[in-house]
């Protein structure tokens, strides 16, 4: 289905007289107040998709496949996400940067799909930095999604980075035990994070000695 079906379809905001531009600017500022290193307002069409993601996400090339309900192949399929994305107009990109105890920098989506995340997760020194950064980005995206919805942007939805780390171990034989909180990452849904960052005027990768995690809130 291409977009919404019906006559007289208006923007997905409960108040038809809402000051959308002002509200979105307010959300961008709110993201920084809540802990994002920076935020950027982007057109939803600037969210770049990796054309190989639908295949890669389900190809089984990753040894950790199927261990997390919020990651492929259990998360929504990239083609499904692409169908949602076309109905949005405006998005808010949020970045969390933290010192990285390694010579090279690392940015989400910089070196292929998710396998980097698993490597970092298995390195205690790296993980001790990345996990708090993940939690900060998760809180920022959750908060922004909540603020958007409270202002009437009721289809706002936020996505983070990497695997969902709310549980120590994700039990995929059970339903998710973190309702209203767990969410897939951008790369799990087939977003090309590097190109999306570049569209916002940000560099595609993190500088040496830093980790950079990116999330996004699709607003309306």
């Amino acid at each position: 289905m291409d977009g919404a079906r019906a006559v007289g379809v208006s923007l997905a905001v409960s108040d038809p007289d809402a000051d959308v531009e002002g509200d979105v600017a307010g959300f961008a500022a709110c993201g920084v107040e809540r802990g994002a290193t920076r935020t950027a307002i982007v057109a939803a069409e600037a969210v770049a998709l990796d054309p190989g993601a639908p295949e890669n996400a389900h190809r089984g090339s990753c040894s950790c496949e199927g261990l997390n309900l919020m990651s492929p192949p259990l998360s929504a399929h990239p083609t499904e996400f692409a169908g949602w994305l076309v109905s949005y107009r405006t998005a808010l990109l949020a970045e969390v940067v933290a010192p990285f105890p390694a010579e090279d920098g690392w940015a989400q989506g910089g070196l292929g799909w998710r396998c980097e995340w698993r490597r970092i997760r298995s390195d205690p020194a790296l993980w001790s930095v990345v996990l708090p950064a993940w939690r900060r980005l998760h809180e920022v995206t959750m908060w922004l999604e909540r603020e958007c919805m409270r202002r009437g942007y009721y289809l706002a939805v936020g996505f983070g980075a990497g695997d969902c780390e709310l549980c120590e171990v994700c039990v995929t034989s059970e339903l998710c035990v973190e309702p209203y909180a767990a969410r897939p990452s951008l790369e799990a849904l087939g977003v090309d994070v590097r190109r999306t960052r570049e569209a916002a005027g940000w560099s595609g990768s993190a500088p040496p000695g830093q980790v950079s995690l990116s999330g996004i809130v699709l607003i309306l």
Partner: protein, 276 residues
Amino acid sequence: MDAPVHVAYDRARNRAKGLAHRLFEERIAAKGASRDVPSPEQLRSLQEAALATGALRATSIPTSSVVVEERVTMKCHIPPCEVFGRNHLCPPYSPTATEFAAYLADYEVGMLVQVQDRLPEGFKDLVRETDGEWYCQLFREKDWERAYAGTMMPLWHRLHLAVMAVEGGAQELGYSGAVGLAGSDCGLCSIEGYAERRVLHQVGLGPPAGDVEGTVFTPCDVSQPCPFPEAARPAMEAVGIDVVRTLRNAGWELRFPATSYLDEGVAQWTGLVLLA
């Protein structure tokens, strides 16, 4: 992938048909090729049927003004709702927006039905006190859950009864394809559903009402067949209806945040009956 996967996620990937699919398909089959629509007098009688159950208001709408889109059901599983995969009438068991849009194409006229209750002062105070908290934590708290269910579930049952009254009235008028949609997740098997279960049993639409304490029926158990296949109805949003814009097209309003209704001291819930 060797790790076992919950059936709901397999369902989400494989799109097997569930109870609500069968409901719509049976009603559309019963309707056949008929394009007859209710007369203004018949619509008025159906409005009156809704109001007689205690509904606040009801209005007929062309189904072309019902807004359906996939982003609505996306919100059921990103982030996952507490009943995602836990209710027969909700995603991933309910029709997708695309599937529902195909069902909707067989209908020309529907009726929106809205119910309203005054909120008890204690509940209003509780909502105000907890307004700054994360809902993902709040819904787990027993006191909050009890207060919410005690306040909102009676309203849910009133909506369900009003929807069923309009649907039944339309059937009696010969519109055999009439089918209702309620709001939120089906609560027939909840503790608060005891009184309605008794009524459903009396009219032959369900098994004996069970234990008043709810030990038999609560909550919805998707590993078992639904005990009320003739009476259970999906929510509008569970099949991808954008309730906000659909109500706006009807000249009604749904405001955000929900707490903006606290000053008026009311809670509202809306359903839709596809008539013909």
